[in-house]
Amino acid sequence: MRARLSLVVDWVSETGPNDPVFDSLLLTGPLVVALVVVLGRSPITTAVAAAYVGFFAAYVPYKALQ
């Protein structure tokens, strides 16, 4: 199981645009979706989902300005 997880992490870090923030978003994406599926619509899940989307939306222009 650990080896398989390590394979996924390796794949994510090697194939993307070499950015740890985007890599983290890709790795945490399934967890956030799973959280929403399990807990349903609540202020906490809404805040987590909004933070995920907001972070992605803000990081793209931020990276361009760097």
């Binding site: 794949w11 994510v12 194939t15 993307g16 645009p17 070499n18 950015d19 985007f22 978003l25 890709l26 994406g29 399934p30 956030v32 979706v33 929403v36 599926v37 349903g40 619509r41 809404t46 989902a49 909004a50 995920y52 989307v53 992605f56 793209v60 222009p61 990276k63 361009a64 760097q66």
Partner: protein
């Protein structure tokens, strides 16, 4: 057996193995939703392509790498095989319900008229071809009553088909070398992100998966239930357009959801190499890349025109309503997604829009968006190449014969020979596109009951099938579309996804070998 046949058989076998993997993985959805009766059907559906694929791939393991001709045949036969075997889940689950095949311990599937339509192999094949080619025309009367397993399988087929089954196969069963490049190009792609094709397809999947998560959460935040958000994010981003509800996006009747889906569809219509550069921090590609710049120009201009047409014709009462439906339907058509908000239940159905508005949407479906993305249609780059080519040829008359002129496309200055080649390629595909569009219209006019549908309805539906769009004027359905129409649409969807040439090359090869002519 000839070496070429071995190469083709080996690579089609690999594609079938990848398809089997998707089916086995989808059995997990049946388990998660407690649809245990669907598990044997999904496993059985996966075992057939797996057995055939493994046999072919092992038997011809040492076959040579494919050349350009073989690559085209592999792409055409691979996609057709995927559609054929991808229809098995529909067929098996429908027959499980029809014959009450599942033992009591696995539970009983609901017997509905919607599911019963898939006891017909032609309907199941239509749905599968529509899914994998990202078309979205459907044989389902009411998506909401389908088992979750089939809702997922429809969505999953579009999601995978959007990027490409060969891209998937290359990414999973990575095989470095010229063979992968040939196959990659035969699936209507050319631009590379990295020098290596295997790295390129893996990066494409990386981007696609990340965008899928963002789209799911965006739609959920906009108010969709999470299951609907997962499915619509996957089919919206892959510009496929299958829905899990009967009235597509109109079910929600929410302007927020409509406007949220627009950027999701647009993301699917921009080429992956451009997405990669944007994620690397180079936002200038949004306007510097010719196709991406024109995606925005074309979508804005088309939406405004459609808004004006539906508003001035009195289809909608308020300018905002006209803008909401005009924008959504133009983007949905031009990105070849096919989500529908204009249906009778909530407002005026597309099939009852004024003829000029329907033709504007038809035009959007024919052109499509950027090559190298998930869209269908002729593609913007071809339309732009043709326009520049025509402009270049006409202005030639005004220059002396000795003048050396270069055609400039997307920052590239083409020599006379290069320009002629690119214009010729774009012209051939555009002409073939219109030829098969007209053939489809003739077949449908002959097959449909006289006087039932207008000519613009028929043009609209055929353009939708061939452009892999999925918007419907109401013709497509298990009962409404005659068998000849279904067969024609199967062909339209198949050639539309592969940009015609590979299918024609394959048919020519098959007929020559079979001695049908010569």
């Amino acid at each position: 057996m000839k070496e070429a046949t071995k190469t083709i058989a080996r690579d089609v076998g690999r594609i079938l193995q990848a398809l089997a993997g998707l089916m086995f993985a989808s059995a997990l959805v049946s388990l998660a939703w407690g649809e245990y009766y669907a598990v044997p059907a999904m496993v059985a559906a996966g075992l057939l392509p797996f057995a055939l694929g493994r046999t072919l791939a092992n038997a011809f393991r040492e076959a040579a790498d494919p050349g350009k001709l073989h690559g085209m045949i592999i792409a055409a036969l691979g996609w057709f095989s995927v559609a054929v075997f991808g229809s098995l889940p529909f067929l098996f689950i429908a027959w499980t319900a029809e014959l009450a095949l599942a033992p009591a311990v696995l539970g009983a599937p609901a017997r509905t008229g919607t599911l019963a339509a898939f006891t017909s192999p032609l309907n199941a094949l239509f749905e599968s071809m529509s899914g994998f080619t990202g078309t979205g025309l459907t044989m389902v009367d009411d998506e909401a009553v389908l088992p979750r397993t089939l809702q997922w399988w429809r969505t999953f087929s579009e999601w995978v088909g959007g990027v490409g089954v060969i891209v998937l196969t290359t990414a999973i069963l990575a095989r470095p070398g010229s063979g992968s490049l040939t196959l990659y190009e035969s699936e209507a792609r050319s631009d590379r992100i990295h020098p290596s094709i295997v790295s390129t397809v893996q990066t494409i999947w990386w981007i696609f998966i990340l965008f899928t998560f963002v789209a799911i959460l965006l739609l959920w935040l906009a108010g969709m239930p999470i299951w609907d958000a997962i499915n619509h994010a996957m089919t919206g981003l892959s510009t496929g357009g299958f829905s899990v509800t009967d009235e597509s996006i109109a079910t929600y009747d929410s302007a927020v959801i409509d406007f949220t889906l627009v950027p999701v569809m647009l993301a699917g219509s921009i080429a992956f190499p451009v997405h990669y550069l944007i994620l690397r921090g180079d936002l200038r590609n949004l306007y510097r890349d010719l196709q991406t710049r024109w995606v925005f120009i074309y979508m804005s201009a088309g939406s405004l025109l459609l808004w004006a047409l539906v508003y001035t014709s009195g289809t909608y009462d308020s300018p905002f309503e006209a803008f909401r439906y005009g924008l959504f339907q133009f983007v949905s058509a031009a990105t070849c997604t096919g989500f529908q908000t204009a249906v009778d239940a909530t407002n005026v159905a597309l099939g009852r829009w004024p003829a000029q508005a329907q033709l504007t949407v038809t035009f959007a479906m024919v052109i499509g968006a950027a090559a190298g993305s998930t869209v269908g249609g002729i593609k913007l780059i071809r339309a732009l190449t043709l326009m520049r080519g025509i402009q270049h040829r006409i202005s030639d008359v005004f220059y002396p014969k000795t003048a050396v002129r270069r055609l400039k496309i997307n920052g590239r200055r083409l020599s006379e020979e290069e320009a002629a080649r690119e214009i010729e390629e774009a012209a051939i595909i555009a002409v073939l596109w219109f030829v098969f569009l007209v053939v489809g219209v003739f077949v449908l006019l002959a097959a449909l009951p006289a006087g039932e549908y207008s000519l613009e309805n028929v043009f609209f539906e055929v353009a939708s099938a061939q452009g892999n769009v999925g918007l419907s004027a109401g013709i497509t359905g298990p009962e409404t579309l005659p068998t000849a129409g279904k067969v024609m649409f199967l062909f339209n969807m198949w050639i539309g996804r592969l940009e015609i040439i590979p299918v024609l090359v394959t048919l020519r090869s098959l007929f020559r070998r079979g001695g049908v002519y010569r």
